[in-house]
Each structure stands twice: as structure tokens, then as C-alpha cells.
Symmetry: D2
């Protein structure tokens, strides 16, 4: 049983079905009827007029967002454990033409107004130093913690005060949202978010994410940047169809609830072993090398996460009965 | 009936079937079994050891190739009607960090050693001028002409003589190949091609192309560039599966033959109206505005291509019976 | 006697003297008193509030201007013989992060509204094509022709109509201005120029040019770009002092008048041999290889400019008595 | 009396004299006789064949070096207080097209093999993470400490072991060298340094630094990059002349010795107040706000350096009699 990541799971059956339905001739690029529905569909979801671009990967969504929010000579503030800093192979620097990521601290990869202020205080307003233009937060974070809407809003208020844009990397936005049990609007634009990378790949999609702009005037140049990055599929309808299929019948929320519930099962069994509270679908455990080996012997796969720690991620399609043996095996380690 | 382009057609049934087969958990990125088969599969096809990266779009394939072949301070020689110059939204400049495209002439968007030499003769060897590092040709060309292997080899010889790499944009490689009726090897590395953008999207694929390197030492940095461009799908197996499905049973060749045959049908009807010889699946016609309107009235859609000209492209899945009415309508214009 | 170019001449004595005067401790970068005078000095000259940055080279001035006027995904329209296209080693692409130069025609390297409109008409408004954001003209041109204020204004009107910025590469601005015998204001902002590369290096300076912004809101980011390009001298006063020294007592105009007069002397002797009218300090001659050799034998150095042509450039400091022997030698070729 | 920095001092009289001597017509760019002497002059100094480019600023030298040593998709390891990270306005990212600076720790802004190893151990060899290609150290450091040759060699050995290049930012190379009392060769290539930014601006120069390559094959592309960055002065002789003048009669060493001696005077007076040992020409003092104000009241200017600290820098031209009053004033604070 694999708990490496939620990024390689099969896709939701409704996604495959929707792609088969889209398998008809239609206008190229994003001129088709599926792509044409995205703005309205997501505007309804977010209770405000949004502008949306499909893109194939989370890295593409994040980096097109950053390029829209920060000039080449500027900086984006993020956590030192942020995905954009550590796991995107320098894509932020590629898309922004060399903007700097300036790194802040925070428990569980969460930024706070205080850690951001501490970072901001080190930057002189002078051409010698790269000036901040945006903040990027990840929700849920790289350690499976989530920001509540009020926590986002506190950062949003700081961003507004300093004239910074606010980006949310929502590769696991659904998981954060169902944990917070709030509306998409409360988690984003009402809390000051300028642009959201709305993730579907880890939520039952195949290769489609939605880049959502809450502020007017950002999508236009982003369309050019998307093309210029080789991301404009000629058969874009297959990407739009994935997003629409997961939004339909709230599948995205159900998928996230299922994954979070699986992680909660493991967390309950892990007790004191938990490195971080489990708020989404990721579990970080303290396990010795012997214990990790014992779990692997029983057929459970996962990543080591530094010495004495392991990361387990539950995917949208893993069922309680898949997870209970793992939970039991972890409990039995005690 | 749409003859706008071959880039928006539905996908081949075997492609959808292969994607459904790949809909199982496997290792992320390109660690899966489908991705793992590409190098061997294409090495067999090309009768030499090649290194292959899947990418989602033709623009991505072209521009990763150019970035591998030309430094930021260098230049790529191409035709002034090349797709990389006119239709990729500046992606070559993005991926190469600002390398220049230097533009040569040639009938039907075909370069020749002579037009390339004429261009090269204008470039002084001096830091003031951007120095050539690569040549890029498109086969079949933007006007539906093809290079024969000996024509590629003549350019390949010039490239070797001047120390330049040679890239082939093969968005319609299959169409060119079946016209030339030669082996993939003869059309590429045996003729001096360094890297090939091997197109599948216009050949029955959904969103997958193969970037093929014939020279060692180029793929390694390209892996990093692919990730850095946000092109590394976490579920790469769905891309590899598309490519493998089209190669299987020589579907890619059958699809190209069918499209070329459709274009030949139109060409036969068009006679003197042809702007260019029809060697692949594109037809350029001389038609007056009234004639174009008449064709559209009968339900045939296509692009105007400058004043008095029209472009019609036949897709992999259009059948003779779809095309005959168009051919008849064109013939009836006389 | 060297007529290779005006870019390597010694500096005006007043420039050296001013640099020696500036050889005192003052605030670093552009916080010194000389740098602090530039805005006011040039605002007076241009009869409007301008914002000015010193930079060390013409390439730096041009490319910082282009970066201020065109985003990475945009295009700059210029003549196919423009210095930014042919002689700056790809610096425009470096500074703009890969914007494209789109090339227009025109006699003597001069653009006209008609040739610009012809170029613009080839660009579809679509993400597939790089969209124009600016026009760049060179005055005096690479062939020593000049734009009159009304010619600049005609291009400025087109730029305004299409929402494009207008940059003037004024490496030889002084030479153009004295030929037109108009005010700096008439030649620039009153004719629609957004930014001017105001050249001093070819006018008796050592290594200082003025980048002049006629539109508010462009200088701020340019300050960051100047630093980011490694162009912000810590001892900037030595650059500002050069500019101020040449402006003082209208030395820049006297120097240009002298150089233009020298070229006129040659032109008068050359008669039918002239390839272009001589309006500034450059002369292009038709000479056979034998004639060129004969001139060189007499000690006159210059560049061949394609087969059967030669370029001779008169520098600010060459006196009539230096030039008369050359004029006589040319006349004697007949 | 100003102790803000050593970057704004007047230039050495020999520099001005050499520039006046170079004020004759010679070949443009670096074709002149002064530029032509640099390779041989610095090869003699470094006791090995080196290749040298003049550039106008330290930022330009550093960033051209980094661009030669690290591809756009790579990383440079440096100290978190390095000038390239904090004070060059993102120039490293501009010149390298977005390479990342990865930050290591170390007392007094000095890297050690241990802190570098700790940083390297966090980087997985995978396309998701930006891979290291070079190390950059500053000697003397931003806090006025120096690396001894054996310390450089230890880092050089690590670099060699890991296949990394080693860059030395030598904005204050002279100050470090006279402190170590070793040969330039021992401090650089014999210790594994690949490229040196050899600073002259802080050592009596006006606007010229030498970028020195100790490894073959790096200078060629750097020549193109220098042009492409707008750094290739047409009157390059005035830059080369500065460098040659400071090397002549070992003026650069005398200047550094003088500045270091001045700093030592202050250090001796400061005693317990010193934040770092004083090994070059910078002094960091613990002073209360009141004490700082008292010093300023007496006419001494300097930067606050965080709360309770001050930075004082001695320039090449400050004499003992200039400094003694400051030393006395500091001593009197006790």
C-alpha cells in the first residue's frame, strides 16, 4: 500500500468520463465550450467574479501567479519550507525572470504576520536590496497544517498594509477547506488573497489545475505568459473538463474529506508519534529506522523525512479499509 | 466540416484506451513503467540510442530543444515563417533566456543551404553580434511542404561545417515521413539532426509530444529545464501512454497517411488554385472572397491566409467521404 | 587619420577637468551633488520635467529604456538595421527578458509610419503572436540620416494611436539636433518620444550617457534595473560630471556641429559617390577595392561596409585641417 | 570625517594621471593597448596564465563570474550575509537567468567546509531541487574578516570533491591579501579558486574591476555576456588604465595596507567594543545610540548596523592623523 504522495493516484472515474465526453472536435486552445465555462463556474463557487486559466501542473499555476504578482527585480516572501522554494526546480525564478524568494520562519511551514514582519524589517528600501512585491502561502502547508480564514486574513491585512499581493498555493486547497469548514470565498479573496493555485491533480484529476485571479487586470498578461511557457494546450478542453468534473457534485470536497479522514485514522493510531497536528491528508511520524523497516515489511510504502521521521500521505481514493491495516501496524509499534 | 487545423481533432481511440489502462497507481513523474519504455521504444524506431522526454505541447518540445542547443547569448537560424518565430508567443526567447531567432528565406517556408549561407554571411564573428549556435527547420513546413532526407542532409552538412546544432520541428513529422517514404533514421540523425520535436498531438494524441535527442549529453540539463518550466507532470504515465499507443501498430503512420491522402484529394480538385505543392496534410488555395464565402456557405470552415488565399488542413480522423464534398465544391468553383 | 568611428575618440578637455573636479569624497552611487543636478539640468534643456539616469554605455541606456517600455512577452518595433538589432550583442533581449525585436523597412535605416503600419498589420492580436509595446527609432540613424521633428511626430502619432511607447536611440542625438536646428523638446517629447538615450560618449564623453524619461512612472523601476544590471557605479559623480561638462557652454552642440561639418566636407568632395545623404557625421561612400586601398595608402582608416562601400565617421575633435586631406584624396579618386 | 564606506573615496592620483595618459585615440572596446596588457600583467601577478576582463563595477564582476560558473537552472552556495545575496539588487539572478543562491552559515560571514557540507546535505539529487554548481566566498568578508589561504584551500578541496566551481568576491581582495601576507596565487588558484572578482574601486580606482579567470574556457562566453550586459565600454582603455595604474609600483597593496592600518588604529581604541576581529579595513563596534550620537557630534560619520552596532570603514586615502581623533573619541566613550 503506497502512502508516498497523493500526486500519483489514479484519476476519479468522473474525470475520465468527462474527458471521453470532451473527445469531440471543438475550437482549439481555450476556445472550446468546456474552457468557456470555467470563469462562470468558479465565479459561482467563489461568490465573486474571478478570472481563471487552466494549466497542467501545480508548478505552472504557482509560477504564472508569481509572475503576475512580482516583477523580475522584486521578491516574493514565502516560508523556507515552501514548495516553491524547495520542490519546483527553480521554476519561480524561471517564470519571474529571476525574482528572489525571501524566506521566513514559522511552525509547520506556516507563515504568520509576526514572522513576515521580522523578515520585512530586514529589507531596506533601497535599490541595493530586492524589494518585496508579494507573499505566497501554502494551504494546506507542506507539513499538512492548514490556515484558517482568520489566519489568512491576518496575513492579507499585512499584505494590504505593505502594498503586497497575496498568493495561495492551493495544491491541497480542498483538504484545507474541508478542515476549516468554511466557504471558498472566506478562505481566499475575503481574506485578501489575490491569486489562488487551485489544485485538482492531488484531488482526483489527471493533469489540470485552475489558476484563479481575484483581482482584475492580472489575467491578460498571464494569458500571454501561459502561451509563452508552452502551456497552452491546443486541446484545452480535456483540461477544462477535468476541473469541471471534479467541481460537479462537489466531488472535490468529497475527495478531500475522504483523504483527510484517512489521515485522521492514521493520526489517531499514531498518538505521540505525530510531529505535527494532522489537519489535512498528510501525516508526519516519529519512527526509528527499525520501526520504519517493520512497516515497510508489512507492505506500507512512504518517504523518510529526515532522520527519525516519516511522511505518509493519503490519496483521494484510499478507503478506510485500506488504511486501517496501516493504522493498526503503527499502533502495534508501541 | 472543419478544416481549420489538425490541432483540435479528437484523439485516436487507442489513445483514450491506453490512458484508461494507465489509470492505476504508479510512480510519480517519469518513474512509471510507461515513461520507462520510451527510450527503448524510440531507440528501436530510430535504429540508434536516443534519449527522450515527454512534454505536453509542441511549443514545449521545440523550446526545450532550442534551450539545449543554444545559449542565452546565441542565435538560432530559422525561416521567417517558422512556427517558432510567429506562433509560439515568444516561447523560444523565454526558454532560451533571450537567444535571438535570425531569419532566413526560402520557398514554402523551406530553408536551403544557400539561404542559410546568405544569412550566415551577414554575421560578423564579434561580440557585438549574436553568434549562431543552431539551425531549426520544420518538417513538414508551415506551408505543407516537406524536406526529403537528402535536403535535410544538405542542411545537416552545413550545420556540421559551421559547428551548429540542427533541430527539427516535427509537429507534422509523421506527415513528412510518409510523404518521403523513408525511415525515421534517414530523416533525422543520419541527416545530421541533433534533436527532434516528434509531434503526436496533431496525429491523434491528446497532449503529449516526444522530445528526442540524438546526441548524448543534452538530455540531462533538459530534465532540469522541463521541471523548471512546470512541465513535469506528476502523473506522467498518461503522457507516455499516448505516445506508446500511437507508435503501436504504426498508428502514427496510418494516421498521417490518411491525413495526407485527404489533402491530396483536395489538391487534385484544386488544380491551378494551389499556392504550394501539397506534400503533407495542408492545402493552400487561391480563392476570392466570394469563393471562400461560397465554400463556407456549404459548411466548410477554414482560415483565410492573407488576401485571396485560404488554408485547409486535414486531420488524422477525417475520412475520404468527409473530404469529397469539399473537393467537389472546390472543383465546382471553376 | 582614423575615420573608423566616433566611439573611440579622446574626451573633451572639459570632461577630464570636470572629472578631476569631482575627485573629492561625496555620497556614493547617485547621492552626490553632480548626480543630483541632472534632473534639473536636463529638465531645463528639455523645457519639461524629465527624470534622468546616468549609465555608462549607449547599449545600457537603450536597453534600460526598452525594459521600461516593453514587458518580457512583448515586442519592440525597430528598423532591421537598427543598432539594437545588430550591434548590441543581444542586450535588448537580455534586459527585456526575451522581448522580440520585430523588424521594419525604410530607406537609410529610417522608419516611417507606412513601414511601421505594414509591420503592424502582420501581427494578429492573439496570444500566439508577440504583441507590440514600443517603437524604437535611431536619430541620427545608423546610416547618418536624421529624423526631422515632424517625422518623429508622425511616428509618435502612430505610436499614440496604437498604444505604443516611443524610444529614441540618441547615440548621435546631438548630431541629429544640430542638423534639424530645432529644440531638444521639439525633437523628443513634443513629437511623442517617451524615453531618450541621450548620447555623450560619441560627443566628447568618456563613459556616460543620460537615459531621459519624458513620462512619469518609468524611472522608479529603472533605478532597480540599473542596479540589478551592475551599472550603478559607487562613484557615480564621475559619470554625472561628464554629462554636465558637455552640456555646459553648449559644448555638446559645438562638438556635434564640428563633426557634422567635417562630414559635410567629405560629402562635398564625394559627390556621386554618396550612398546616403549626409545629414550628421557619418559618410557612406561607393568605392572600389582599389580606391579604398588607395585611400588607406594615404593614411586614412575606415571600415568597409559591404562590397564596394565604405563608412567614414567624423569625431567631435577632428578639425577641418584633418579632414581636408581626406576630402582631397576622395576628390582625386574621380 | 566620513567612515561610511570605502566605496566613495576619491581616486588615487596615479589613476587620474593614467586616465589622462590614455586620453588619446586608440582602438575601440578592448582593442586598445591598455586593455591588451591586462592578461600578461595579471598572469605575471598570479604566476599563471589567466584571462581577464575589465568591468566597471564589482557587481558586474561578481555576476559575470557567476554566470560563467552556474547555469540558469543551477545554484550558487554563499553566505547569508554575502554581498551577492543582500546588496546587489538581484543582479546574480539577472545575470544567471534565475539561478538560486542557497545560503549557508558561518561566523563573520565566513563559510567553512562544515557549513557548506551542512547546506549540501539538504539538497537531494533530483530535478525537483536546484542543484549546486558553484560556491562563492567573499574575501575580505562583509564583516571585515579574511580567509587565509589554507581556509580557502579547504573550501576549494570541497568544491573539487563535489564538482563545484569556486568564486571569490574580492571587492576587498587587496585588504585580505595584505592581512594574510601571502601571494595572490596562494590566495586564489592554488587554493582552488576558479574566478576572482579583483576589486579596484575600493582601492583607489574610479570605475574598473578585473574579472580574472583561472580556468580556461570561461572567458569566451563571458566576453559575449559582458557585451550583452551593456558593459563593453567603447573607450575601454580608460578602465584598463585604472587597473594598470594601481598595480604599478604595488600601489594596490600600499593602499590596502594603509586602510587596514587605519582600521587597526580604531580597533585598538575600541577594545571590548569590537563585534568582530578586525582583519581588513572594516570595524564593527558595539555602541549605544547615545554613544553613536556623541561620535557623530564630533563629526564622525558612519552607518548604524542593527541596534547597538556601528560600522566604520577606512578608505585607501585616509591617513593616521585623520583616524587618530576618531580612535581617541571611541576610547573616550569608555
Amino acid at each position: 500500500m503506497r502512502f508516498f504522495s497523493d500526486n500519483a493516484a489514479p484519476v476519479h472515474p468522473a474525470v475520465l468520463a468527462a474527458m471521453a465526453e470532451a473527445d469531440v472536435l471543438d475550437t482549439a486552445y481555450d476556445g472550446d465550450r468546456w474552457s468557456g465555462m470555467l470563469d462562470a463556474r468558479l465565479s459561482a463557487l467563489f461568490e465573486t467574479e474571478v478570472e481563471v486559466l487552466w494549466v497542467p501542473t501545480g508548478t505552472a499555476a504557482n509560477c504564472l501567479a508569481l509572475a503576475a504578482l512580482c516583477p523580475p527585480h522584486g521578491a516574493v516572501l514565502c516560508h523556507h519550507d515552501a514548495h516553491i522554494q524547495n520542490d519546483e526546480g527553480g521554476a519561480p525564478e524561471f517564470y519571474t525572470h529571476g525574482a528572489k524568494l525571501l524566506l521566513a520562519d514559522g511552525e509547520g511551514a506556516k507563515l504568520t504576520p509576526d514572522t513576515l514582519r521580522a523578515l520585512l524589517s530586514t529589507i531596506r528600501v533601497a535599490v541595493h536590496q530586492v524589494q518585496p512585491h508579494a507573499i505566497s502561502i501554502t494551504n494546506a502547508t507542506e507539513y499538512g497544517l492548514t490556515y484558517r480564514p482568520d489566519e489568512v486574513a491576518a496575513i492579507g491585512a499585512l499584505a494590504a498594509e505593505r502594498g503586497l499581493a497575496l498568493h495561495m498555493d492551493g495544491a491541497r486547497f480542498a483538504n484545507a477547506l474541508v478542515h476549516a469548514d468554511c466557504s471558498p470565498a472566506d478562505m481566499t479573496w475575503r481574506a485578501g488573497v489575490t491569486a489562488l493555485s487551485f489544485g485538482f491533480v492531488k484531488n482526483g484529476g489527471m493533469g489540470a489545475e485552475a489558476l484563479v485571479f481575484f483581482k482584475r487586470g492580472l489575467v491578460e498578461a498571464s494569458r500571454y505568459r501561459r502561451k509563452r511557457a508552452g502551456l497552452l494546450f491546443s486541446k484545452g478542453r480535456y483540461l477544462a473538463a477535468q476541473i469541471l468534473a471534479l467541481l460537479e457534485e462537489d466531488r472535490w470536497l468529497a475527495n478531500a474529506r475522504n483523504a483527510n479522514a484517512g489521515a485522521a485514522l492514521i493520526a489517531a493510531a499514531a498518538g505521540e508519534r505525530l510531529v505535527h497536528p494532522v489537519e489535512a491528508n498528510e501525516v508526519f511520524l516519529r519512527v526509528s529506522a527499525e520501526e520504519a523497516a517493520a512497516l515497510r515489511d508489512k507492505g506500507f510504502d512512504f518517504y523518510d523525512w529526515g532522520p527519525g521521521e516519516a511522511r505518509l500521505v493519503v490519496s483521494w481514493n484510499q478507503r478506510a479499509e485500506d488504511i486501517e491495516p496501516l493504522a493498526a501496524a503503527i499502533a502495534a509499534l508501541r
